[in-house]
Homo-oligomer: 222 residues x 2
């Protein structure tokens, strides 16, 4: 049987995308925790362009970029498909996956900015939530693709879990459930899926690390 | 027969990606030129999230985002495939397509910036060219995927044609062929493909428009 290895860090939403996909497919894998501050020679060898996690190693061959890894996993292991079978529905799913991916930078921007700059980031978050609410989650669906979780839900994981953490950390309130009722229901549905619920980073540990990082950044800039 | 329509503007590299893919597949289509300064109600209806071209309309259903459109075209019309058949090779191709797409913003940044800010953009261009030269075009290939043009070549069209135009316009020299011999050969190979050669925006018209836009931007900022 082919050997599957995943290089990640315990708090990255990009890594959780891959963990969930592998678990939804029932694929056993070896997980290798990378050190942010001291990247391993293997990581640099497998992802020489971006030098970033996640990297999936399948039969000794590396695949980089979380959304590319998700597509690969779905093609190699077709059970519990993560994309719709119909080509048009698949194109719509890929549109939203790209949308989610293109907005991912907004997460770290939230706690790395202040004042007017942060206000602009918050505005972008609200536009993103509005697009999800008014265009992607219409029609009374439990998930983006209908009754089952798929790759679009996984791609939007930042909104379901990481945003709330950053809000707590930064003392912001961006996501107000009554303003985005469909997104709010979707978050509940998403986090009630056993594979998701049972595989999320520890909140206290994450808040502790964010505080540590902020102090590091501030001491550097002083 | 299904009706295929393409909403675009005559100078956009994102639109040319779609034009080339349709022509490589031999798919007849109706082209609708959009006005940058006065977007049509149809465009806003078909792409309510980004309000941008290109939009492909197939059997009345809209598909947005050039790389999503390319995937859709390749699935609907399988002749002259634009992605490798092997799942791992396909993942590598998708990695580079995402890489090219994530760098696309560097094009307009080149002529919208000055001084130190422009120097940072030039540095990013050089890093991109280095990655193409040292990682993507190795092994004596004519194109990114081997002997035939594929979706990766199409995705990198900015480098093959638009960069040179912006260099002329901005009085910059970023791409020096002797520093990137593989990229240089690839550009020649790419632009010798009849579908590419016969379908490129007019250089003089493009330079004229860029000058006009710059004047507009300057008069606004004064």
């Amino acid at each position: 049987m082919a050997v599957v290895k995943l290089f990640g860090t315990w708090l990255s939403p990009y890594v959780y995308r891959v963990i969930w996909a592998l678990k939804l497919k029932g694929i056993p894998y070896e997980y290798i925790e990378e050190d942010f501050s001291n990247k391993s020679p293997l990581l640099l060898q497998y992802n020489p362009i971006h030098k970033k996690i996640p990297v999936l190693l399948h039969d000794g061959k590396p695949i980089c970029e979380s959304t590319v890894i998700l597509r690969y996993i779905d093609e190699i292991w077709p059970q519990n498909p993560l994309l719709p079978a119909d080509p048009y529905d698949r194109a719509v799913a890929l549109f939203w996956i790209k949308f989610a991916d293109d907005k991912s930078h907004l997460l770290s921007k939230l706690y790395r900015t202040e004042g007017e700059e942060q206000e602009a980031v918050v505005k972008e978050w609200l536009e993103m939530l509005k697009a999800m609410e008014e265009h992607a989650l219409i029609g009374g669906k439990r998930f983006f693709g209908g009754d089952e979780i798929n790759m679009v839900d996984i791609a939007f994981c930042m909104v379901a879990h990481w945003l709330g953490l950053i809000e707590d950390f930064a003392g912001l309130k961006i996501f107000e459930p009554h303003k985005f009722p469909r997104v709010s229901s979707w978050i509940q549905n998403f986090k009630s899926v056993p594979v998701i619920k049972d595989n999320l980073p520890d909140t206290d540990k994450m808040l502790g690390l964010l505080k540590h990082r902020r102090e590091m950044l501030r001491s550097k800039s002083n």
